[in-house]
């Protein structure tokens, strides 16, 4: 255990260029995935919250169930899709960071959509009469609702980011854990474990935790500042 903390400490102090590359790629992939997935999932969640349509219950149950999609399954689906023998093979995206972004989006999208649906639906109950008396259509109400729920939605997006940065199964399959190209924190940890370098593996794990904590901390500080400024 103490060896792991020592390893983590040494890695941070030395700023090992390989590690810096791995950390940068991890953040790039997971942040890109969470931004793109949120851009789709937040309006989607809001739309499901506002409109009543046949099969709505089934859609909600399906989305909620997909929150538990095993990363390996998501990875395998994206692998088969992007493989040369697959429907999108001609783009040659397999074993690239782009493939990893896509796989993580598949994992994050249901989480952000399902949770934001919940948040927006509750807010809609509250605002509905007022907005409708002002003649605001549902479509027009979406941006208002998303904006007013933004503090809760930040937590929703962070839950998605947590899922993306923590998973290893999907990025391992679609990225291939190629040194210097698609190796991220979680796949590096898996590799060091398989080489029996347990202290180094745990040290990398500690750094990953610190990174995720930093991103969450930043989000918290920004949210609090904004909240205070708005009074």
């Amino acid at each position: 255990m103490e060896n792991a903390f020592l390893a983590a400490f040494r890695l941070i102090v030395e700023m090992d260029p390989v590690l810096v590359g791995i950390v940068t790629l991890s953040l790039q992939v997971s942040l890109t995935a969470v931004l793109l997935a949120s851009a789709i999932a937040l309006p989607l969640g809001a739309a499901i919250a506002l409109w009543r349509f046949p099969g709505r219950g089934a859609v909600i149950v399906f989305l909620n169930a997909l929150m538990g999609l095993p990363p390996v399954v998501a990875g395998l689906m994206v692998y088969l899709l992007l493989s040369r023998a697959g429907p999108l093979g001609e783009f040659g995206l397999l074993f690239t960071p782009t493939a990893m972004v896509i796989a993580q989006m598949v994992l994050i999208l249901p989480i952000v959509a399902a949770l934001s649906r919940q948040v927006i639906e509750e807010l809609w109950e509250e605002y509905r009469e007022q907005l409708q008396s002002l003649g605001v259509t549902r479509l027009r109400a979406i941006p208002t609702l998303l904006w007013d729920a933004r503090f809760s939605l930040v937590t929703v997006v962070l839950a998605g980011f947590g899922r993306a940065s923590a998973e290893v199964g999907a990025v391992l399959i679609v990225g291939g854990n190629i040194s210097g190209v698609t190796r991220v924190m979680t796949t590096a940890i898996a590799l060091e474990t398989s080489m029996g370098n347990l202290a180094l593996a745990l040290g990398l794990g500690i750094i990953l935790l610190l990174l995720v904590a930093t991103v969450n901390g930043l989000a918290y500080v920004i949210g609090e500042t904004a909240r205070r400024r708005l009074g």
């Binding site: 493989s83 999108l88 093979g89 690239t96 782009t98 972004v101 291939g176 474990t193 398989s194």
Partner: protein, 270 residues
């Protein structure tokens, strides 16, 4: 639905391509190979030398031999380097690879807990050794993942006329390193390639107990993929890698790789 799916996947993919997550990638090939070659550090030693000679980057996807074949079959890598001669020959015969050439070898070894309850260290042959493990029903951890090492291990039991089964025979479905970690934790015997063993850092009670039988020979082969089946692949660059591996320069690079004072791979290009 398919079109919708296509748009849902593609729109973000194109967006993601704009974000600079793409490493500069002119002049690279993708090599599907085994965990033993990657985890032992061999590629870290020879690939920079190849890059110096040709300017081509080699991206290694390290998986089990079974999965490496599957990646090659689907055309997701430009070339394959694995260790299962029978499987490799079948791969060529089925038309997936243009040819197969011997590149290098090392050997498998039997590793187990240091008190050696099965007495493997005193065995006359590897057949005798595995028979002792099976007779005493001593814990044995098997890769169980259709890798080259797993295929070789199954061949051992077959040669010894044993159908390994029961609580003592544990199929893990894991890579070599994970299998070694498990064997170390449960004081089990395990069949491992020498390169991974030398590079492995978590041995605990495990030690090398049996080595040197000819049946434990571990041959690696290079397989450039078929140009007919997969015209989209970077065949010219892959061919350069293939030929470099077989050249004097490549063979010397392989022989020059040592870890903890031991040579891990022995070139034998034919």
């Amino acid at each position: 639905m398919k079109a919708l799916l296509r748009n849902m996947i593609l729109a973000p993919a194109l967006l993601a391509a704009v974000v600079p997550v793409h490493a500069g990638d002119s002049g690279h090939i993708t090599l599907a190979s085994t965990t033993s070659t990657e985890a032992s550090g061999l590629f870290g030693h020879i690939i920079p030398k190849f890059r110096e000679a040709t300017g081509i980057h080699v991206r290694v996807v390290a998986v089990g031999t079974g999965q490496a074949f599957e990646i090659g079959r689907r055309g997701d890598a430009d070339i394959v380097l694995v260790h299962d001669t029978i499987g490799e020959e079948a791969f060529v015969e089925q038309g997936y690879a243009a040819e197969r050439r011997d590149v290098m070898y090392n050997d498998f070894i039997l590793v187990g807990p240091s008190p050696d309850p099965a007495g493997v260290a005193g065995a006359h042959s590897v057949r005798d050794a595995v028979r002792r493990i099976a007779d005493g029903e001593h814990p044995f951890t098997s890769r169980g993942d259709d890798s080259g090492t797993h295929r070789a291990e199954r061949g051992l039991w077959k040669d010894a006329g044993i159908e390994p089964a029961g609580h003592w025979y544990r199929e893990l479905g894991s890579g070599m390193g994970a299998t070694l970690n498990t064997a170390a934790a449960m004081d089990a015997y395990v069949y491992v390639d020498r390169a991974t063993w030398i590079a492995f850092g978590n041995r605990q009670n495990l030690e090398l107990l049996f080595e040197g039988d000819e049946a434990m020979f571990n041959q690696y082969g290079s397989l450039p993929l078929s140009t007919d089946r997969h015209p989209h692949l970077k065949h010219d660059k892959a061919r350069k890698w293939h030929e470099w591996l077989l050249s004097d320069e490549g063979q010397e690079a392989i022989a020059g790789y040592a870890l903890r004072g031991q040579q891990l791979f022995f070139p034998n290009a034919r």
